[in-house]
């Protein structure tokens, strides 16, 4: 192998650091590999360190290896270099190159001369242009080199060399079948043998070479700091639901909020708008501590807010709920008693000891039937008006409609219908003003929100009480309906008739009985209500004789006012009518000319008539002749008659739960009769409050409570207590009836 050495000598004597370095090595080997030699570069460190790569091979005196005929020194200017003692160099090392056939290198001296000149020579590059200049500069300003050179700004460039491949012997493959395979194999064998013999062989000397690591350089880069922002959100189930399922509602609410933000009433819109977040779920705003600060600045805003809030529907709804809750607290014991729930007592209330005593008293004394007044439906609206009629809603048993009206001829106040809810006894849910006094009411069962109202002037109106402003569905006012009643409508009833021709549903019709002697069936036609007459109540004059003669009588209406009627509970085509004359007629819907039967007993107007809901053939009638009569359907004479006071009995109702219990109201008292226990006297008598006349009665369907309306506009709820009723009331009733019948007969026989 040919090696040529090029020695680059760095002069160490100067105090100044060397800023010139050697060029790259270019050497090749003959057989294998090419060592690429890059262009010569200067390795100048920033701190003017000498970062020149050290020579890879120390020139050995055993340079007998180098068979190179000449040694090249790359522009070693010995003379000038020796003068430049500025090169400090911490070392002087010959730098050897091995060049193969290179013509680039010009050298002047031999190794020996180089070795001698090691101390003084300075390698000179030819490529770096500034180097000679620098050198010349150094030459020129040799004396002042220290100061000026130090201050001078030098261009320092460091670039990367190409990769230097020191040894590259790619392996070759020779096929076994090739021609010179044997030679190769022999050589391989020789080599293997050589390797085996290598250990301990004198021919081979181990020598280690250290690759020098270059000085590491630290490079720092500074970047802008990254802003970190913490963001967190709480995910809740309802939040996800809101955003997924009901986006329309969110938009609505958003638009509402935005509208409010744009409200031009106050000028401070922007701040408010910024505060209102668009997302519906989060109404969070600044905390309470800021509220006070804001309160001052946005005092005007608060008013507009208040208005908007007050008008909003949700506020009303909230108020409704709130009011009911409050009242529920207040009335909780009463309502619980009504609904037959256990009453909760305040844990720490002072009233408790007294109540405990009371309870003990109760347990001692035998319980007697009594009514306990629970509460009263009353408000300013209704005060002073007389209650005439009450009706429960068919669908919602907590809803009660009460009709008020004054009947005095002198003062004809307009009537009022109030719909009360059990949950709020202090204010009606709906209050409907009517033109004239209300005489009858009924809720429809097919459409539970329809309420039919009959009035004193004969008109009938149907209201829809579902909405807050109950609207009038239909009305029969004088000009509209030719067939309207001309006299007070005393009773209204919605009844389901037989199946419609299609046989699918039952049609419900409104029936009314009025003082003009007509019983009408109403239906809805194009312009309103219209009716057809079911029956005209003709006067039956078999026993009476009119003084005025029949002539004048024919001028007057030949009809007698009907005061009440009731449809048979199961057979809805049969109904009973009570008339002014004291007669009770049984009629049929299909026959509008004749009565099926007539029951005579009363000699005063029959005020109320009612079928028993539990016993199919029995009905009660009460009249102004102070009596109550119990009838059986097929008998012309009443089974029983009751009379306890000497005032007209205004109203009578069967109890919906017990077949033997019914209640009657006359002007001074409420009387509950139980046929089971006593025939002669009512078991419970509740006198009316002073100055107040009780007018109407209604049993509660689900519980054992009784509602009594009086002439002061109050509806009192009484609870029946300790009413001991037998188990099978129906059977007992019939038994009783039959036994009474036998008594009657025996009495008659005895009397006769």
């Amino acid at each position: 192998m040919l090696t040529e050495m090029l020695i680059v000598i760095l002069s160490p004597s100067s105090s100044r650091t060397i800023n010139i370095s050697v060029s790259g090595i270019q050497s090749t080997r003959d057989t294998n590999g090419v060592i690429g030699c890059p262009s010569r570069k200067s390795f100048i460190g920033e701190c003017n360190n000498d970062v020149t790569p050290q020579p890879l091979y120390q020139a050995d005196p055993a340079a007998a290896q180098s068979k190179a005929s000449r040694l090249f020194l790359d522009e070693i200017s010995a003379g000038s270099a020796s003068d430049q003692t500025t090169a400090t160099g911490s070392f002087t090392m010959p730098f050897s190159r091995s060049i193969f056939g290179s013509s680039r290198i010009s050298s002047q001296s031999t190794i020996e001369s180089v070795n001698e000149e090691i101390e003084d020579t300075f390698p000179k590059r030819d490529l770096p242009i500034n180097f000679p200049e620098v050198q010349r500069k150094r030459d020129i300003v040799k004396e002042h080199v220290t100061e000026d050179m130090l201050k001078e700004v030098t261009d320092i460039s460091i670039s990367e060399t190409d990769s230097i491949s020191l040894l590259d012997i790619p392996s070759t493959f020779v096929s076994v079948d090739a021609d010179d395979a044997e030679a190769t194999m022999e050589r391989n064998n020789q080599y293997a043998e050589l390797c085996r013999n290598r250990m301990g062989n004198d021919k081979y000397v181990d020598q280690s070479v250290q690759t020098l690591n270059g000085a590491a350089k630290n490079k720092q880069v500074q970047s802008d700091s990254i802003m970190m922002v913490d963001s967190a959100t709480t995910v809740t189930t309802w939040d996800m639901y809101d955003s997924l399922i009901s986006p329309e509602q969110c938009e609505e609410l958003c638009s509402q909020e935005l509208r409010r933000a744009d409200c031009p009433e106050v000028g401070v819109d922007t701040s408010r708008g910024a505060e209102r977040s668009v997302s519906v779920g989060s109404t969070a705003s600044s905390g309470n501590s800021e509220g006070e600060v804001e309160a001052f600045g946005s005092g005007l805003n608060a008013e507009s807010d208040l208005q908007l809030i007050m008008l909003s529907e949700r506020f009303h709804h909230s108020l409704l709920v709130m009011e009911r809750s409050i009242l529920g607290n207040t009335f909780q014991p009463k309502l619980a008693a009504y609904r037959q729930l256990p009453v909760t007592h305040e844990p720490d209330s002072l009233v408790q000891p007294g109540m405990v005593e009371q309870r003990e008293e109760d347990t001692h004394s035998p319980p007697s039937p009594a009514v306990e007044r629970l509460w009263t439906f009353s408000c300013e609206l209704s005060r002073g008006r007389s209650v005439h009629t009450m009706a429960w809603n068919k669908k919602n048993p907590d809803l009660l409609a009460v009709g008020y009206g004054e009947f005095g001829f002198s003062n004809q106040k307009p009537g009022l219908v109030c719909c009360w809810s059990l949950k709020n006894p202090t204010w009606p849910e709906r209050a409907i003003q009517c033109d004239s006094a209300v005489t009858s009411l009924d809720f429809s069962s097919n459409n539970p929100s329809q309420l039919a109202v009959g009035m004193q002037d004969g008109s009938i109106a149907i209201y829809n009480v579902k909405n807050q402003e109950s609207e009038m569905f239909f009305t029969s006012v004088c000009s509209e309906c030719p067939n309207r009643h001309l006299d007070p409508v005393w009773q209204l009833r919605w009844t389901q008739q037989e199946l419609s021709p299609t046989g699918e549903e039952e049609i419900e019709s409104l029936f009314s009985v009025a003082a003009d002697g007509r019983i009408s069936k109403w239906f809805i036609c194009r312009s309103g209500l219209d009716c057809i007459d079911l029956m005209k109540l003709k006067k039956i004059q078999t026993t009476k004789k009119k003084v005025g003669g029949t002539q004048t009588e024919s001028v007057l209406s030949a009809l007698t006012p009907g005061l009440c009627f009731d449809f048979h509970p199961t057979d809805s085509s049969v109904y009973l009518v009570g008339t002014w004359e004291g007669l009770v007629h049984k009629c049929s819907c299909s026959n509008n000319q004749q009565f099926l039967e007539t029951y005579r007993k009363h000699f005063c107007p029959v005020n109320c008539i009612t079928w028993s809901p539990l016993s199919p053939d029995v009905f009660l009638s009460c009249s102004s002749d102070w009596t109550i009569q119990l009838w059986k359907q097929d008998r012309h004479h009443p089974m029983l008659g009751f009379s306890s006071t000497q005032t007209a009995v205004c109203d009578i109702k069967w109890s919906p739960k017990w077949a033997t219990v019914f209640g009657a109201v006359n002007e001074g008292q409420l009387a509950i009769w139980d046929l089971n226990s006593s025939l002669l006297e009512p078991i419970i008598v509740q006198p009316a409050a002073a100055g107040v006349k009780m007018k109407s009665l209604l049993f509660a369907t689900q519980t054992d409570c009784v509602l009594v309306g009086d002439s002061d506009g109050q509806v009192a709820v009484y609870q029946l207590k300790n009413l001991s009723v037998g188990e099978s009331s129906q059977v007992q009733l019939l038994d009783r009836v039959q036994s009474d019948v036998s008594e009657d007969y025996s009495a008659c026989l005895n009397g006769l």
Partner: protein, 90 residues
Amino acid sequence: MLTRIEAHKSVIGTIVVNADGIPIRTTLDNSTANQYAGLFRQLTLMARSTVRDIDPQNDLLVLRVRSKKHEILVAPENDFLLIVIQNECE
């Protein structure tokens, strides 16, 4: 309707709070109203979140806090808060 509630004999006070936590109508004094408003706002948000977490179609109607001395009813809505303080009845 609000006047009816306020006129009820067992009701000590009512507060209507708007969406920002400011009482806009109250029968109590301002500082108390502010205090109630701030405290109950958090509670109603939490209660409402609880109710809706269990069933997202449900919603909180009224929150009642019954204490020894009185009972506080809160009706939360999106836009406002209605607080009523009621005395022990009877």
